[in-house]
Amino acid sequence: MTAEKIKINSLVPPTWNRLKVNDITVELPTGSAAGMTDQGLKTSEAKPADWQIDTGCGTELSTFLEKNGTKPVLVANDGDNLVSIKKTYTENAADIICFEAKEGQTVNILTDVTSDENTEGTAVLQVLLKAEKGAKINLAQVVRPGKGMKVVNDIGSQAAEGAQINIVQVFMDGSDISAGCRTALKGEEAATENHVGLVRTNGQTLDMNYVAKHLAKTTKADINVTGALSKNAQKTFRGTIDFVKGCTGSDGKESENMLLLDDTIVNKTVPLILCTEETVAGSHGATIGKPAEDILFYMTSRGITRERAVEILERASLEAAANKIENAEAKEYVLGIIAGKYADE
């Protein structure tokens, strides 16, 4: 097996090199087969030309997938029913799956990727989304690989006039996860929301690059990250609100709430706001620190050990995101996974 090193999650524009946040280099195995299309889905081959959508991980990843021979696959949907893709990786995999919401349609998607504890490899999942006029796409993702599986989870999406794209992601377990998400708000009054819940511990890493590009008037974006870090975990969050000239009346927000649970962690946050339009409103807010002592005291005074209290806070970080899932079935499923993780511990 051969592998290729590529740079993904590039910060545009870049900043000081010494901070090591301008991009991340990942090593991806070549020749990986598709792993997601054996799920009994109704699929058809997607024309690559129709799905040239910029993604959060960036063009180097898309070029790599093309060279790898990974073909985009269009997944059929029948309206409001949940399209559910659950995959346990057993080897290297690379997939591009595409979803389209026609005018006025609502499409609900759930992806859940995991792997056995003994599986070692790298999986690349690129999800491409198109929402036509007045359509809505709700994507819920759980990324919870085993210890030996590295995952690159990449999203590119486009929203036409009045369309809405809502993405909820829960990242836990595994070792190294890279995540990208880029939404182009192309039509007037298009909107997007990102809600990310993450827990990284025991040397796990998560590198993220999220971009909302406001290309039309009165578009809205809201990127939210909540999470907890402990035991040598590392997380980098790049979030970009990009107001392009002509997007008058647009509104973009980013917020981050990170709990830092010991002093072995590295938490990097890079929230960009880029603006070439006058009449817009952009904002970013971040709160980063340890759990409030009074909360921990309250819990421990009621017989909860400090370790258990920390677990409760971690779980709350994940559930804060999961509770934003609009589709009831997907929400119940994701909350169940989170409950299962903490029930075992």
Binding site: L19, L260, N267, V270
Partner: protein, 469 residues
């Protein structure tokens, strides 16, 4: 219905754009070669170690790459820059001894008047050398040293200067620190002894006159334990149709329980590449305060940085940048928390108009040992039209759980609701908009002595006209 956009007048540069005849000044030839560095060193009568240091820096400069981030500096050709221009004047400690044309330039800038009314001492640099330096006798009697850098290098404090020179801003930090190390000339040395509080500010003013030249002054300030100082830096230049370069370096050492306020009003001309570096290190219980107003230059890279080394040390940064036509101002700050219970408070504001570009670039790093660190960063940007650009690029790198870090950034235009509110109470729309923009810049002017706040207000004289249809 037509809509006339809010009009904000460009900075009134009349007093800055006066050019003196420089036929009598001495220049080294353009470019950056070992021969030029050796001539410069000879001209400056450097000690041997400094000559060797310059040559080492030149080698480093040639080996380093240009920054791959920030505004483009393709228009800056070092082969066309005069790195040393000595005015036809010796340094004086009376304005009467300064040549008439140079004195008149500083009079127009209000420096002698400010010295009489509100300063404890003044250093005035003209191109590559200081032409005036003076300090009040009372301050001198407190043991405060305020002198030109060349004198400091050879006088009683020579060992201290050598010990500290370019140890905070090291030549291997980046290409332009290396350049500074190779060609520095002029600047000030300030030493405030233990426990001495200088109640009135000192000021250095850097005036550029020569076309196509560079200015590379070095400022070194040491504020000992329990001492207190406010230092003001001002700079300006007339506009030319070729690139000028400013690559100064400011190194600030703030002792235990000492306080240093460093205020800058920068009004370079719009052909200036302002690639300037400033860094401070703060000991236990010390406090560093930055007040920064960036109004001029074609390209700016300016990020005053602070190392909070000592426990309970603190830093406050208040800055504003005003970018208009032909300007790309990349400004901001950096702070590194190392000591326990350190804190930083950062407020940045930017105003972009008429195609001007502002980038606010910040970094907050909290190291694992910085238990109890607190940091609050606020970045506000005001866009006055859609021809301009405003970017905010903050980074937070937190490596301990025992930290409390907050960051907020906002970008927007003048609120129609606020204008309407004020108009409903009898103000004209022009006045309402002017008041809002003036208020936006108010937090910086409030931090300056009154005379300098007035200068800043002159620089951002915001005249409004027009109506919303």
């Amino acid at each position: 219905m037509s809509e006339e956009k809010t009009y904000v007048e460009d900075v009134n540069r009349t007093i800055y754009d006066v050019i003196d005849d420089d036929k009598d000044s001495f220049k080294l030839e353009q470019g950056l070669t070992e021969d030029i560095i050796l001539q410069l060193s000879e001209e400056k009568k450097d000690p041997e170690w400094m000559r060797d240091f310059r040559l080492k820096c030149l080698k480093m400069y040639n080996e380093m790459t240009f920054p791959q981030w920030g505004p483009g500096i393709e228009g800056l050709d070092m082969n066309r820059i005069y790195t040393y221009v000595r005015p036809n004047a010796r340094m004086a400690n009376s304005w009467d001894d300064v040549p008439e044309d140079i004195k008149n330039t500083f009079e127009r800038l209000g420096i002698p008047q400010a010295e009489r009314t509100s300063l404890a001492g003044v250093g005035a640099q003209y191109d590559s050398e200081l032409v005036y330096h003076n300090m009040q006798k009372e301050v001198e009697e407190q043991g405060v040293i305020y002198t030109d850098f060349e004198s400091a290098l050879k006088g009683d404090y020579a060992d201290l200067v050598r010990e500290k020179f370019m140890t905070l801003l090291t030549p291997n930090d980046h290409k332009y620190n290396a350049l500074h190390g190779a060609v520095w000339s002029g600047g000030s040395f300030v030493y405030v002894p233990k426990g001495v509080k200088v109640s009135v500010p000192l000021q250095s003013y850097f005036r550029f006159n020569a076309k196509g030249a560079g200015q590379f002054e070095h400022t070194l300030i040491i504020v000992e334990e329990g001492a207190d100082l406010h230092f003001i830096e001002g700079c300006s230049a007339p506009k030319y149709n070729v690139a000028n370069l400013h690559t100064g370096a400011v190194e600030l050492f703030v002792g235990k329980n000492a306080r240093l306020r460093y205020s800058t009003i920068e009004s370079w001309s719009k052909n200036m590449y302002n690639l300037n570096s400033k860094r401070s290190i703060v000991e236990e219980g010390g406090r560093m305060e930055w007040v920064s107003g960036s109004f001029g230059s074609h390209i700016s890279y300016l990020y005053p940085s602070t190392i909070l080394k000592g426990d309970n040390s603190t830093m406050e940064y208040t800055g504003i940048a005003f970018g208009s036509t032909g300007q790309d101002l990349d400004t901001g700050m950096k702070v590194i928390h190392i000591g326990k219970n350190t804190s930083s408070v950062v407020n940045t504001k930017s105003i972009s108009k008429n195609g001007g570009c502002n980038t606010t670039r910040t970094s907050v790093q909290v190291m694992p040992q910085a238990k109890g660190a607190k940091s609050v960063v606020s970045c506000e940007s005001l866009m006055l039209d859609s021809e301009s650009r405003s970017d905010t690029i903050p980074v937070m790198d937190i490596r301990t759980d025992d930290a409390d870090v907050g960051h907020e950034a906002t970008i927007g235009s003048i609120s129609d609701e606020a204008v309407f509110y004020m108009m409903s109470r009898g103000m004209s729309e022009e006045d309402a908009r002017a008041l809002i923009v003036s208020g936006f810049a108010d937090n910086v002017s409030r931090e300056l002595p009154m005379e300098y706040a007035a200068e800043m207000n002159n620089l951002i004289r915001l005249e409004m006209k027009g109506t919303i249809g």
